[in-house]
C-alpha cells in the first residue's frame, strides 16, 4: 500500500516545506525515506516528529554523555518518566517538562496544560502522582507584562493541580531581565507505584487493539511541538489559535481510569498524547515495540466537524491517551472508562508489517517504512564557541566595584537583598497551591530547603526540590551546571534526604548559534560531572531550546529536579531555628567570591564575574555530614547558603517562619580578614547552617568527613534580633525590618498591580 494525496490537500512546494520548518536537506531525507514525494499528511507528521521538541536533533549526542545508571534505577531516559526503586517493593516515577512558549502567549492555560502533561507522563507509568513541583523564571516584577505572567502562571499551576488533588510542594522561582520576553515554566511530577505495576509505553503483540481514551480531539494546539521549537518572535501573536485549554476534571477522571486500567491487566501499553499528539504517541509506541501500527483517523472521536487527518494527527488537545489493549479485552476496557464517564474508541491495531500507516477509511493517507520514522530523524552537531562578550563579563574584576554609601551599614544591604524577589518569600505564590492534600506533606513549600512527602504506609519519605541558578550558568556554564545539581542535592540533604536521582529540563536559546550550543554542551558536561560524583543518575528530562525573545536568549537554565529518600519521617528537617540556646554551626567555609552573585545583580545592577567554585568532592562530604547529623538526631534545623550568601541564610533561619521567629548571636571573627561583603553576601558553595543542641557531635561528624565546621553563635529570642560580630565591628539588626522586607516584597509588587492580577483572574474565569 502506498499513501496518496487526499483531494483538497495542498501541493507540496518548497514554500510549504519551509513553512513546516524543514530544511532542504531534511526534506530530501524524507523523500529518500519514502522513495517518493510525501503527502501533505506525511509532511505534517514529519514536521512534528523532526521538530526539536520531539526529535532532540541538536541535543541527543550531548544528552548521551549524562550518567543514567544505578542499581536502583528501574527506568532511565526513554520512557514517559524515569523510575527508581525505594525499597519495600515501592518505586518512584518522576519527570519534569517545560511549557515555556505556551505560557508566554497565554500564561494561565499555558501553565495549566503544562501541569496536565507532566501528570499524564507519570500516571501512564502506573504511578499515582503524590507531589508536584514547579520551576519558574520571569523578568523583572517592575514590568506590568511580567506581573501579568506571574499572576496567570501561578493561577494556572494552582488551579490545575488543586483540582486534580495533587499537592504542589516545592519549586524555585527567579526573576531577571534575561527572562523578560520568554518566561520559563517547568513543571515536575512525582508518583509512587508498586514495582510490579510499572508499565511501559511499548506497543506489543500483533493483533492488539489501539484505543483513544479521554477527551475528544479538537483543532487546538496544532503544531505545538514545532511552536516550542521556534524563537518567540513578534509573529508569535499570530500563532494564538495554538493555545490549548486545560480541563483538570477530565484529567482527574483519566488519572483514576488509567490506574484502574493498568491494575486490570487488560492493557499492554499506555501513552499520553502530548506534544505532536496522536502522531508522536503512536509512532513512539510502535518504535519501542518494534512493530507496525495502523490508525484510522475516521475512528478518532473529534470535537469539531470536518477535521482532516492532518489536523487529527497533529492536534494537541489535552487530556487524551493512547492505549494498546490486549485483543478481546476491549469491552472490559470500555467498562472501566464508562465508570469514570470517559469514552474509549478503537482507532487502530498493532500489525506485523513493519510500517506506520494512517488511513482515512479506505484511503491510505500516510505510510512510513518500519520504525525509521522515529529513529531516522536528522541529527546535528552544531558548532560550539564561547561568546567573547561573556568571557569579558566573567573576567571583570568584581572586587573593584565600589561599595555604595549605604552599604557601610550591612543591615541596609541585607534588607535590600531580602527584598529581591529572587530571595524574598514566595508565599504569595505557593499559598495558591494546595500543598497539604493527601495528608502526607511533612515539610511543605517555604518550610524547608526541599519538600518532604511521606510515602504512605511506610516510615519513609521523599525529599524533592528543583533548582538552577541561570546566572551562574550564563557566566560559566560548566560550573553553573555543576552547581545546579550540587545545590539541588544539598537542599535535599538539608531536609534529611539522601539524593537519589534527577530529572532535568534544559532551557536554552537557539542551538544553531555557536555561543548557545557551547553553553549547552558545557552546562550538560558540568551536570554530568556532578551527577557522577554525587551518585545521582539522570532518569529523564526534557530539552527546551529556542528560548529567545527580541531581547535575546534567556540565561541558559538547566533546571534540576532532585529526588531524595528520607529513611524515617522523624528525620524530616526544617530550615528555621526552633529553640533558644541552640548552637549555630556553619558547615563549609566563606570565601572571597562575589562573582555572579545576587548581591552584585540586585545592589549594583551587575551580572559579571565568575560564579563561585564548586568542588564536588566537598559537596559530597557536606551531604554526608548533613545526613549523619540529621539521622543522629543532632540537627534541629538545616539550611544551605545560596543566593544572598551567609547573611541572607542566617536571616532566613531567623525570620522566614513568620509565626515563630528567633534572633541570634553570631560571631564571624574567624573570617575578619575577608572583605565584609564577600563574607556576608558572597555565595561560596558547599555551605550549610545547622542549629543544634549538640554542637560537639556535629563538629565531630564534620571532622570525620573533613568538612570545615565551626560554631558561629547561638539562637536567641526574636526580640534579641540578629547580633553579628566581625572582629571589631558589631551589627545589631532588629528582625522587624528584615521580616517586612522578606515577606512583603512580592505581595507588595503584585498589589501594586491590581490590573495585572485581575486580568489573570479574569482569564482564569475566577471572576465569574
Amino acid at each position: 500500500m502506498t499513501a496518496v494525496p487526499r483531494p483538497g490537500d495542498p501541493v507540496i512546494t518548497p514554500a510549504l516545506v519551509a513553512e513546516h520548518g524543514l530544511t532542504q536537506d531534511e526534506y530530501q531525507r524524507l523523500e529518500r525515506m519514502l522513495g517518493r514525494t510525501p503527502t501533505f499528511t506525511e509532511l505534517g507528521i514529519i514536521s512534528a516528529l523532526w521538530s526539536e521538541h520531539c526529535s532532540y536533533k541538536h541535543s541527543r549526542p550531548i544528552l548521551k554523555t549524562l550518567p543514567t545508571t544505578a542499581p536502583y534505577v528501574l527506568q532511565g531516559p526513554g520512557e514517559n518518566a524515569g523510575v527508581i526503586a525505594i525499597g519495600d517493593g515501592l518505586a518512584v516515577a518522576f519527570k519534569i517538562e517545560s511549557h515555556n512558549h505556551p505560557s508566554a502567549v497565554e500564561p494561565y492555560q499555558g501553565a495549566a496544560t503544562g501541569v496536565g502533561g507532566i501528570l499524564r507522563d507519570v500516571f501512564t507509568m502506573g504511578a499515582r502522582p503524590i507531589a508536584m513541583l514547579n520551576s519558574l523564571r520571569f523578568g523583572s516584577l517592575d514590568t506590568p507584562r511580567v506581573r501579568y505572567l506571574v499572576g496567570g502562571v501561578v493561577k494556572g499551576i494552582g488551579d490545575y493541580g488543586n483540582c486534580v488533588g495533587i499537592p504542589t510542594v516545592a519549586g524555585d522561582v527567579m526573576f531577571d531581565a534575561a527572562y523578560e520576553g520568554n518566561p520559563l515554566v517547568n513543571a515536575m511530577c512525582v508518583g509512587i507505584l508498586r514495582e510490579e505495576e510499572l508499565i511501559r509505553a511499548k506497543a506489543e503483540g500483533v493483533g492488539n487493539t489501539i484505543m483513544a481514551v479521554g477527551a475528544r480531539t479538537g483543532r487546538d494546539g496544532i503544531h505545538g511541538a514545532s511552536f516550542a521549537s521556534e524563537d518567540l518572535s513578534h509573529e508569535t501573536d499570530a500563532k494564538r489559535p495554538r493555545v490549548q485549554v486545560g480541563d483538570p476534571f477530565t484529567e482527574k477522571l483519566l488519572l483514576e481510569a488509567t490506574l484502574e486500567l493498568i491494575g486490570s491487566g487488560h492493557v499492554v501499553a499506555i501513552q499520553d498524547m502530548g506534544a505532536a499528539g496522536l502522531t508522536s504517541s503512536s509512532a513512539e509506541m510502535a518504535e519501542r515495540g518494534e512493530v507496525g501500527v495502523v490508525i484510522d483517523t475516521l475512528k478518532v472521536p473529534v470535537r469539531e466537524e470536518g477535521m482532516t487527518p492532518y489536523e487529527i494527527l497533529l492536534s494537541e488537545s489535552q487530556e487524551r491517551m493512547l492505549v494498546v489493549v490486549t485483543r478481546g479485552r476491549e469491552d472490559e476496557v470500555r467498562k472501566i472508562l464508562t465508570k469514570w464517564d470517559l469514552t474509549a474508541e478503537v482507532i487502530g491495531e498493532v500489525i506485523a508489517d513493519p510500517v506506520y500507516r494512517v488511513v482515512e477509511g479506505d484511503r491510505v493517507v500516510a505510510e512510513f517504512p518500519g520504525t525509521r520514522l522515529v529513529t531516522d530523524c536528522p541529527q546535528y552537531h552544531p558548532e560550539a564557541k564561547e561568546s567573547d562578550a561573556i568571557i569579558a563579563l566573567r573576567n571583570r574584576d568584581v572586587h573593584a566595584v565600589p561599595e555604595r554609601a549605604e552599604e557601610r551599614d550591612p543591615a541596609w544591604t541585607l534588607t535590600r537583598l531580602l527584598e529581591s524577589p529572587t530571595i524574598a518569600s514566595k508565599l504569595w505564590i505557593h499559598r495558591q497551591y494546595d500543598s497539604t492534600v493527601r495528608a502526607n506533606t511533612l515539610v511543605g513549600p517555604g518550610a524547608g530547603d526541599a519538600a518532604v512527602v511521606r510515602v504512605q504506609g511506610t516510615r519513609k519519605a521523599l525529599a524533592l526540590k528543583t533548582d538552577c541558578n541561570g546566572r551562574y550558568v550564563y557566566l560559566e556554564p560548566r560550573t553553573g551546571g555543576r552547581i545546579a545539581v550540587a545545590e539541588a542535592a544539598r537542599n535535599v540533604a538539608c531536609v534529611g534526604g539522601r539524593p537519589m536521582a534527577i530529572t532535568n529540563c534544559l532551557n536554552f536559546g537557539n542551538p544553531k548559534r555557536p555561543d548557545i550550543f557551547w553553553q549547552f554542551k558545557e552546562a550538560v558536561g558540568g551536570m554530568a560531572e556532578a551527577c557522577t560524583l554525587l551518585g545521582t543518575p539522570v532518569t529523564g528530562g526534557n530539552v527546551s531550546l529556542y528560548n529567545e525573545s527580541p531581547i535575546g536568549a534567556v540565561y541558559p537554565t538547566p533546571v534540576i529536579g532532585m529526588v531524595g529518600l528520607v529513611d524515617d519521617i522523624d528525620h524530616a528537617t526544617r530550615m528555621t531555628f526552633s529553640a533558644v540556646g541552640d548552637s549555630i554551626v556553619l558547615l563549609g567555609e566563606p570565601t572571597n567570591e562575589l562573582g555572579a552573585s545576587e548581591y552584585l545583580a540586585w545592589i549594583h545592577g551587575l551580572v559579571a564575574g565568575a560564579p563561585p567554585r564548586c568542588d564536588l568532592v566537598k559537596e559530597r562530604a557536606l551531604i554526608e555530614v548533613l545526613l549523619e547529623s540529621i539521622r543522629g538526631g543532632h540537627a534541629r534545623s538545616a539550611h544551605d547558603c545560596s543566593e544572598g550568601g551567609l547573611a541572607v541564610a542566617l536571616a532566613e533561619c531567623a525570620m522566614s517562619n513568620r509565626e515563630f521567629m528567633f534572633g541570634a548571636n553570631i560571631d564571624l571573627s574567624t573570617w575578619k580578614k575577608l572583605p565584609l561583603r564577600a563574607l556576608l553576601f558572597g555565595e561560596a558553595q558547599g555551605r550549610a547552617i545547622i542549629s543544634t543542641s549538640a554542637p560537639a557531635a556535629v563538629l565531630a561528624i564534620a571532622a570525620h568527613h573533613g568538612v570545615p565546621a565551626q560554631t558561629i553563635g547561638t539562637v536567641q529570642s526574636a526580640a534579641h534580633g540578629l547580633h553579628i560580630v566581625v572582629g571589631d565591628c558589631t551589627f545589631d539588626i532588629p528582625l522587624g525590618g528584615l521580616s517586612e522586607a522578606y515577606h512583603e516584597a512580592i505581595p507588595r509588587a503584585m498589589r501594586r498591580a491590581p490590573a495585572e492580577t485581575v486580568s489573570s483572574e479574569l482569564a482564569a474565569g475566577v471572576l465569574s
Binding site: 494552582g158 488543586n162 483540582c163 488533588g165 476534571f249 482527574k252 483514576e256 495558591q432 492534600v437 511533612l442
Partner: protein
C-alpha cells in the same frame, strides 16, 4: 461505628478521610460511589473535599443531583450525622442540607493553616470539643466565602447554628484572621437538627503530629461521643 465516605468523580480528599477514620480513629469505613443508591449501612456520612464534578459552574452545584445524595439527604432527615468538609460543605449547602452559600473567596485561592474557634458543642461533630477551643488546621479552597443574607445570619446566630469561626492566635475573630471574606468570620455551620455540619478547613489533614497539628481529631472523636449517647 461505620463511616460512609462519598466518592464523587472529582473527590480528592476521600482517601484522606478514609485514612483518618480507619488509621487514626480505628473505626470501619466504606466508600460510597456517587452513582449508587446505597449507604451500605453507614452510621455517619462524610462528604469529602475535592472538585466533585469539576466545579466549573459553582462548587457542589452538580454534585447535589448525584444518586447518592438522595440517600444522604434521607439519612440526614432522619437525624443521621453528616459532615461536609470543604467541597463537601459546598455540596451540602447546594443540596439544602445546610444554610447559606459558599462564594468565590474575596481574594484568590488560599492554602494555609488557619485557627478556628469552636462555637457550639451541641452538634454531632463537636461534642468532644469545648466552646472557645482553638483548633489549628489547613484550608485550601477558592470558594469558601460563607454568605447568606443578614436576616438568615441573625437567625443562625440566634439558633446557635454557627459552629466554627476563623480567629487569630488569641481567639479573636478579626478581619485579618478571615482568610476568604466569609461573613461574620464563619468557617462552619450546622443545620437546625445539629446532625449536619459543614466546614471549610480540613480536619482530616490535621490528625497527625508529623503533619503539624492533631486538632482535627476532636471532630472525629466527637462522633464516638455522639454514638455513645
Amino acid at each position: 461505628m461505620k463511616v460512609g465516605i462519598v466518592r464523587f468523580p472529582g473527590s480528592n480528599c476521600d482517601e484522606d478521610a478514609l485514612h483518618a477514620v480507619v488509621d487514626f480513629l480505628g473505626e470501619t469505613a466504606v466508600m460510597l460511589w456517587h452513582k449508587d443508591h446505597d449507604l451500605h449501612g453507614a452510621d455517619v456520612v462524610i462528604l469529602p473535599g475535592g472538585f466533585s464534578y469539576g466545579d466549573y459552574l459553582r462548587a457542589g452545584a452538580i454534585a447535589r443531583f448525584s444518586p447518592i445524595m438522595q440517600e444522604v439527604a434521607a439519612h440526614a432527615a432522619h437525624g443521621g450525622p453528616v459532615i461536609g468538609i470543604c467541597n463537601g460543605f459546598q455540596i451540602a449547602c447546594e443540596a439544602g442540607l445546610l444554610p447559606g452559600a459558599l462564594l468565590r473567596n474575596a481574594g484568590s485561592y488560599v492554602s494555609m493553616p488557619v485557627i478556628i474557634r469552636t462555637e457550639r458543642t451541641d452538634t454531632s461533630f463537636t461534642g468532644a470539643s469545648s466552646v472557645g477551643q482553638l483548633l489549628r488546621m489547613p484550608i485550601a479552597h477558592g470558594e469558601g466565602r460563607f454568605t447568606a443574607d443578614e436576616a438568615t445570619l441573625d437567625q443562625l446566630e440566634a439558633n446557635g447554628q454557627i459552629v466554627f469561626r476563623y480567629v487569630d492566635a488569641h481567639g479573636n475573630a478579626t478581619p485579618e484572621s478571615n482568610p476568604n471574606g466569609a461573613m461574620r468570620n464563619i468557617a462552619g455551620v450546622t443545620n437546625v437538627g445539629r446532625n449536619v455540619v459543614g466546614l471549610m478547613p480540613h480536619p482530616e489533614r490535621a490528625m497527625d503530629r508529623a503533619l503539624g497539628s492533631q486538632d482535627g481529631v476532636v471532630l472525629f472523636e466527637s462522633l464516638l461521643v455522639a454514638a455513645n449517647v
